[in-house]
Symmetry: C2
Subunit: 309 residues, 2 copies
């Protein structure tokens, strides 16, 4: 599937080489993440943290953060510590979600999950260590040309996106709904707004804040990121049904097996695709005023609904 | 046991009513902690977080933070968000430590542990939620008369104290040593420097930094806190042997059952007490230049070795 299928027919978008852009940004992120965690005594915990953090992944979250910083007029360097932090947070949530007491998953990104390699105790601590490091990293590594009050705002938003009012809260409701077949659309929206969209939103907003986004910019970025967050989850649900385990890199068909209510189970696959496309079009329209500077974020939005893993 | 037994014979220390001071500061902390977490949808996670955070405890960590801020010339108000954060972090570490995959404890502070009440999945998430909130809380609640660069320094120190270079790293080595009877003094020191002393040190230093401590102040505070951190752990080890479960509020004699190497097992109980007393005397001497302003921190240091639970 070609990532440019659904692009708005503007010349900038049509000419933009998203694949090359994503590859380049991913390499920058991978290098920064690799350097973010040394291996010192006690080696096991650092290795466990690195195992999951460097296990691949598309790095969509840090790339969103970097792209937004650049759109608003900041630099990659200003946003890189925050970009690394969001990937650490995302990884921490995956490690804890995969635990036997939670989703009990053996595979993630095509590799054994953290607790299958290092044991449950170390996996819990590796998640805690990544979470602590993420905040420390933003506080210590953000360059001096970012005013400290902006960095504090970033930390506040990241904490909220991750905590009970964000990812953690979404996961709690998700656990409560497991095995139920009568979950309402309202509840499903709550789960995804918190479990997936909150951190994606934080990636975009924090990239913007670091670069000095105005209150008006923040509003646009909020609407952009909420739309792509929901679209992202709808596509995830569809992929869980239509993909093979090999494509997905994790156990496929888990939602069906768990009798989870998902967007495709409520709307059907085709209608779900239409809704996702609509959300992405609206997201791109929000950024129209940024002109060609918005092209990377617009292209990423389209990529989200055209990916196959 | 009277907490003033081992006081330096200065008139300020002799006259200082530590019991009244601790009671008053604890009430301030309990009120602030109670207000720090609302109960909103999904209630279960907020209740789980509150259950452990408000389960009592002496609030030694937040009180150290507040007392240091006042000694350096700051206020209670400036340091309270950080004081709450260190208690959230401490609570998070207890919740995760008590999990079946870790220390597998059923009781803590005389109450059922978090996972015994809410289940393992919620207990993991409650810890994650407290950790995320702790950083968010410092970033959003620290009053405006604290310059943002100080607040960033606090967040950096808290992150380090909690992560692989601090509490998490200490816990990893502790887990590795379980069941071993040949743990060296060096390893034992590593465990306690990281598992206990690192966060105590952060409490003191962060209270100082918020109030504008000079580099020279920071050095004194570091030596004070490292000494009381180690003394604290030595006394904890002694209490594990000499106390009843009722006094301790958690399972007593666990270290013996687990054949853990502890300070009393290396030095004997009496020699351990002597070392703890020495450490506390040195800690108090470090603060001599602060005159009578140092009295609360000096009294707390003595309290640490004279407590019986």
């Amino acid at each position: 599937m070609v990532a440019t299928d659904n692009f708005q027919k503007t010349s900038e978008l049509a000419q933009f080489n998203l694949a090359a852009y994503l590859k380049e940004q991913k390499q920058l992120c991978d290098t920064a993440l690799d350097q973010s965690i040394p291996v010192v005594y006690p080696e096991k915990i650092y290795e466990a943290m690195r195992y999951s953090l460097l296990a691949g992944g598309k790095r969509i979250r840090p790339i969103l953060c970097l792209a937004t910083s650049e759109m608003i007029g900041g630099t990659i360097e200003m946003a890189m510590p925050t970009a690394c932090a969001v990937e650490m947070m995302h990884t921490m949530s995956l490690i804890h979600d995969d635990l036997p007491a939670m989703d009990n998953d053996d595979y993630r990104r095509g590799k054994l999950t953290n607790h299958k390699v290092y044991g449950e105790d170390i996996a819990i601590l590796a998640g805690d260590g990544l979470l602590a490091l993420s905040f420390e990293f933003v506080a210590t590594q953000t360059p001096e040309n970012v005013p400290p009050h902006r960095t504090l705002q970033v930390i506040a938003r990241l904490g909220k996106a991750l905590g009970a009012a964000g990812l953690v809260g979404g996961q709690v409701v998700d656990l409560e709904c497991e095995g139920k077949t009568d979950t309402s659309l309202e509840t499903l929206n709550f789960i995804h707004n918190h479990k997936t969209a909150a951190l994606l939103e934080a990636c975009v907003l924090c990239g913007g804040i670091i670069a000095g986004a105005s209150p008006e910019d923040v509003k646009k970025l909020t609407r952009y990121s909420q739309n792509i967050g929901l679209a992202f989850q709808i596509i995830d649900d569809i992929l869980d049904i239509t993909s093979t385990q090999e494509q997905l890199g994790k156990t496929a068909g888990k939602d069906l097996t768990a009798q989870k209510v998902t967007y495709p189970s409520l709307w059907g696959i085709e209608e779900s695709r239409v809704k996702a496309k609509q959300l992405v079009d609206e997201a791109c329209a929000e950024l129209a005023s940024f002109g060609e500077k918005a092209v990377p974020l617009q292209a990423i939005a389209h990529f989200i609904i055209n990916r196959n893993h």
